[in-house]
Subunit: 191 residues, 2 copies
């Protein structure tokens, strides 16, 4: 719980009263590797704070092909955010890549606290803004960098993770096939 409070206050400071109310809606939970936190087609209602472990968010095409759009490492929040905001059915999957310790809360209960504590609304705004910035960075990377450069950036952004998850998940995150990632790796190891 301290990890959560620390994270929140680093995004945007909140009062002690807000801390108490906010912490109170979270419950400890665990996710085992391959467990889903969110799946396609459901109406999402919860958010979670990741204390340990790794997860991925991905889409699946009609033909069943998966595309890893985000990799989550702690400390961070996870949620089927678009679905929570729009109240539409969820389009994405969120799945644990390793066992995770999380703190889970109901999204509606969290957002109800915004009325009571302006500082929490501000925190939420800043968090949302940071999500936007992260997405924009990722967008720039996908468009402006080659697959090889994205691979290098993945290694930098997620140190050590490469050895803990299958390579096809990394390939999918980079937007290439495992075959292509294998070619890239070969290329890098040669000279």
């Amino acid at each position: 719980m301290e990890q959560l409070i620390k994270y929140v206050n680093e995004v945007s400071p909140i009062t002690k009263e807000a801390e108490d109310d906010f912490l109170n809606i979270f419950r400890k939970g665990k996710l085992t590797r391959n467990d889903y936190f969110a799946t396609y087609g459901e109406y999402s209602s919860k958010i979670a704070f990741v204390c340990s472990g790794t997860l991925r968010a991905f889409y699946r095409s009609k033909k069943g092909q998966e595309y890893n759009k985000t990799i989550f490492i702690p400390p961070c929040f996870i949620a089927a955010y678009s679905s929570l905001i729009t109240r539409n059915k969820n389009q994405i999957y969120i799945q644990a890549l390793e066992d995770c310790e999380v703190l889970i809360a109901n999204y509606t209960r969290a957002s109800e606290l915004y009325d009571k504590h302006h500082c929490l609304e501000r925190f939420s705004r800043k968090l949302s803004e940071s999500f936007f910035v992260a997405k924009e960075h990722r967008e720039i990377d996908i468009v402006l960098l080659s697959a090889t450069e994205r691979y290098a950036k993945f290694q930098k952004d997620f140190p050590g993770l490469e050895q803990r998850i299958p390579q096809y998940h990394i390939a999918s995150y980079l937007g290439v096939t495992p075959t292509q990632l294998s070619r890239i790796r070969k290329e890098l190891s040669l000279p």
Copy 2:
């Protein structure tokens, strides 16, 4: 100005007092076709509400290649948002594709109003969330749709615009070369 107030209230209702303070920081402005609202390397400080006209936001690679990441049509806000949020140098360009009527405000002055009017902070949160959702949709489209499908979606999302801006801007928005867009158009016109 009514257009702006209508837009804001549709995102998240604000009080009359907030309306007055908010409107007060905006000034009418014009952009002529090809004018830049934001350019790479500067520290951004302003936001604008677009009343009429069209704009594009784009990146430029080291080799000078451009990639249109967003097309703006009214009513909407434009800003080098990531730069405003992070206070880092701006990475993107925003340029008018057609003459535009805009309402311009200083970002800092706008955000200072959040302290005074909680409803404006909420509006800002919801706006930020909607940007996030839009970005996610775009991301899904880029990854899951073919260039041909994205072209169809462009025509649907921006009716009539195709006839008013050069095709290479559309190609860039779709993530393909003008050559490839030309091939796609030919393909579509054949059967």
